[in-house]
């Protein structure tokens, strides 16, 4: 073929217009920030928020609800991707809003890069959510992780933040290596990296099973690293603890949505034929995570560290939803199982954002408010914030009627329906253990005398946002079917 015969067919850019808009606006934000003289970077903050709102509108406008592929099938746009992306934008907007005061009190953090790196991380998560190719998944993960490594280290003068960034970087690189190795094995066995094509070839049964399962082990290990489930959880407590709380809030919320999406894309969309194999692996990871997460959280005195172990146990619980999709080559339960897992992730992100938001709200310049004892007597200092925090803790513990209860309930119901009664019992027992440390925080807030009696001052917008977050946790607990049906519908339309 000569040069004249070559044709360049422009790919259909419409499904990916949200990503393109976000990338273009991120560059605009970066350039605009160079001319901002203001120490508070108000312009950068406002532009970033407008960018996210604009991306939300673009996603909404271009959403068709149909499954469409573009960029030579590397990119998929379906309802699940659209729903997860909208939740992602909302989460990032809320995260930046909560972080605003904290960042302003710390001159090292109040740089334009805080915002541009957040936007790049958001782009990475969007790429992960819409990936239909192992290569795209990997590149999305790297884009997200690279931005997060830098953000963890943004507070350069803090030794613990630098240490956390270093650990995160090294372990993240190791996890990427595992993931890539797994992907290369799957490529070797099927001859393609495109997820839908992998699924087709597996259905035809042409692939070498032993290489596939070997690759699957590495793939699941890499995913487990990214999700932070035992035994690949070592980075979570150190990173959550060492990172500036604003960055911890980001790490603990939005990436869970993207991680859920890539698990669905890789394991369910791509490797569903191997479901018996990966479900077994996930059960082991899940039980171990719930055990280690819940028991280790009891011993913590630092709230961020406690929440890190709680995140490990929650991710373990979420995996339960994924392991029950296929029972003995029967996929009847798939819809129920995967939508309950999605519901679980969304509610976890909601509560996790509120809890870390509360730590940010109580923090001041030179005071992190990250020890559990810093919450002593919060009720005397601010009854409303104590009530909101109590709702978050109740929801995380799974006490009725908060949204976390319904999340746990729907996952357990999927597990029982699939016939894993013992697994449901184990999960409930570990949740009971978990209730102890959540309730301890509530006890400290209500029954202990405050060490510091200064009333809490917060700007009105943060108060409103925090109240909205708390009310969402409470109201979704009363009307869980709204969110549940959104999750179920988006999964039906996308599988």
């Amino acid at each position: 073929m000569t040069l004249a015969e070559m044709q360049f067919v422009l790919p259909d850019l419409r499904p990916a217009s949200a990503e393109i808009f976000l990338l273009a606006m991120t560059c605009v934000v970066m350039l605009a920030d160079l001319f901002v003289k203001d120490k508070k970077r108000t312009l950068t903050f406002v532009l970033t928020q407008l960018t996210l709102i604009g991306t939300l509108l673009v996603t909404y406008a271009t959403s068709t609800g149909e499954i469409s592929y573009t960029f030579s099938n590397m990119y998929v746009s379906d309802l699940m991707a659209d729903v997860l992306k909208v939740l992602l934008y909302v989460t990032v907007i809320v995260v930046l809003w909560y972080s605003r005061g904290y960042v302003l009190d710390r001159p090292q953090m109040a740089k334009g890069e805080f915002y541009s790196l957040t936007l790049f991380a958001t782009l990475g998560m969007m790429v992960m959510i819409s990936a239909n190719h192992f290569l795209t998944i990997y590149i999305g993960i790297e884009l997200l992780s690279l931005s997060l490594y830098a953000m963890v280290a943004l507070n350069r003068d803090s030794v613990s933040a630098t240490e956390a960034a270093m650990k995160y970087f090294v372990l993240g690189a190791l996890a990427s290596g595992l993931l890539l190795y797994g992907m290369s094995m799957i490529y070797g066995a099927t001859g393609t990296l495109e997820i839908t094509a992998v699924a087709e070839r597996l259905h035809m049964g042409q692939a070498n099973k032993s290489i596939l399962v070997f690759g699957l082990v590495f793939l699941v290990s890499g995913l487990a690293f990214k999700l932070g489930v035992v035994p690949f959880h070592m980075w979570i407590p150190d990173v959550y603890h060492g990172a500036p709380t604003a960055v911890t809030l980001l790490i603990a919320s939005a990436p869970k949505l993207a991680a859920f999406a890539i698990v669905i894309r890789m394991l369910v969309n791509g490797l569903i034929v191997l479901a018996q194999d990966w479900q077994m692996m996930l059960i082991i990871l899940s039980v171990l995570s719930m055990a280690v997460g819940n028991f280790a959280a009891i011993a913590q005195t630092n709230l961020k560290r406690m929440l890190a172990y709680s995140a490990i146990s929650h991710m373990g619980f979420m995996l339960l939803g994924l392991v029950t999709g296929v029972v003995g080559a029967d996929a009847r339960f798939a819809l129920n199982a995967y939508s309950s897992a999605m519901f679980y992730v969304v509610t976890y992100v909601l509560t996790s954002a509120g809890t870390f938001g509360m730590i940010l709200l109580l923090a001041r310049a030179g005071f992190e408010s990250e020890e559990i004892d810093d919450f002593k007597g919060l009720n005397k200092r601010s009854p409303w914030f104590a009530a909101v925090m109590m709702m978050m803790m109740f929801s995380m513990a799974g006490i009725p009627f908060f949204v976390g209860f319904f999340a746990k309930f729907s996952v357990l119901q999927a597990v029982v329906a699939a016939g894993y009664l013992w697994l449901a019992i184990v999960a409930v027992l570990f949740s009971l253990v978990g209730a102890f440390y959540y309730l301890r925080v509530v006890k400290i807030m209500y029954f202990d005398a405050p060490t510091d009696v200064t009333p809490i001052k917060a700007p009105i917008d943060i108060k409103l946002l925090m109240s909205a977050n708390g009310l969402a946790v409470a109201l979704l607990g009363v009307f869980p079917q709204i969110l549940m049906s959104v999750c179920a519908y988006s999964i039906i339309r996308s599988l």
């Binding site: 070559m6 990916a16 990338l23 590397m74 890069e113 795209t136 690279l146 830098a150 943004l154």
Partner: protein, 200 residues
């Protein structure tokens, strides 16, 4: 001997010699330069295999960018050679095990037919088309999405590196001639009248 075979052995001999010198040269700058030589000859071998894209990128990326950076680092840092050479004997057992493993692996691959490893021939490109051309076409058509995203990752790398290393603006001693010419002597010199102090 065919001319091609002669070129191959010629390049290989230089490469083996250069690689040996990389580890045996006493001067780290010489070692780095020998590594450059090894890269050059390796890219020559790749050219013989008709892998011109790999050959060009090896020279551009490794020789042009990585090794220059390496040389800078080697020249900037004051490396104490004697301290580097300490502990040679204690590392020897581990090093030799790794070397042995690598030799074994190479043997398995080179003698693939004896070990029932699938032999894959050299992939052929379409006639009249260089592989630079085919790689370029694939990158900008089928793989344009990951290709562009990879460039975003590089951008993040730059942003992150600047954010993490750039300290506060240095106070530059740059003078503006336009304002400098307006300076008068009384702006620079101040004559103070101080009362004489009494000694105790």
């Amino acid at each position: 001997m065919e001319f091609k075979t002669f070129v191959f052995y010629f390049l290989s001999a230089i490469m083996v010699f250069a690689s040996l010198r990389v580890v045996t040269a006493r001067n780290p700058v010489h070692a780095a330069l020998f590594l450059v030589l090894a890269f050059f000859t390796a890219s020559g071998v790749w050219l013989l295999l008709q892998a011109e894209f790999l050959a060009i990128s090896l020279v551009l990326v490794y020789v042009g960018a990585v090794m220059v950076l390496f040389l800078f680092v080697v020249m900037m840092l004051d490396i104490n050679i004697d301290r580097l050479r300490e502990g040679f004997w204690s590392y020897l057992p581990l090093g030799s095990i790794i070397a042995l493993l690598m030799v074994l692996e190479m043997g398995v691959i080179l003698g693939g037919s004896y070990f029932d490893i699938l032999e894959i021939g050299v992939p052929q490109t379409a006639a009249g088309e260089s592989n630079v051309q085919s790689i370029g076409r694939l990158l900008f058509t089928d793989y344009v999405y990951p290709f562009e995203l990879a460039s975003v990752i590089l951008l993040v790398g730059i942003v992150a590196a600047v954010a993490l290393t750039l300290r506060e603006k240095r106070k530059t001693k740059l003078v503006s001639p336009a304002t400098q010419v307006f300076v008068k002597a009384k702006d620079r010199v101040r004559v103070l009248q101080m009362p004489a102090e009494k000694r105790d």
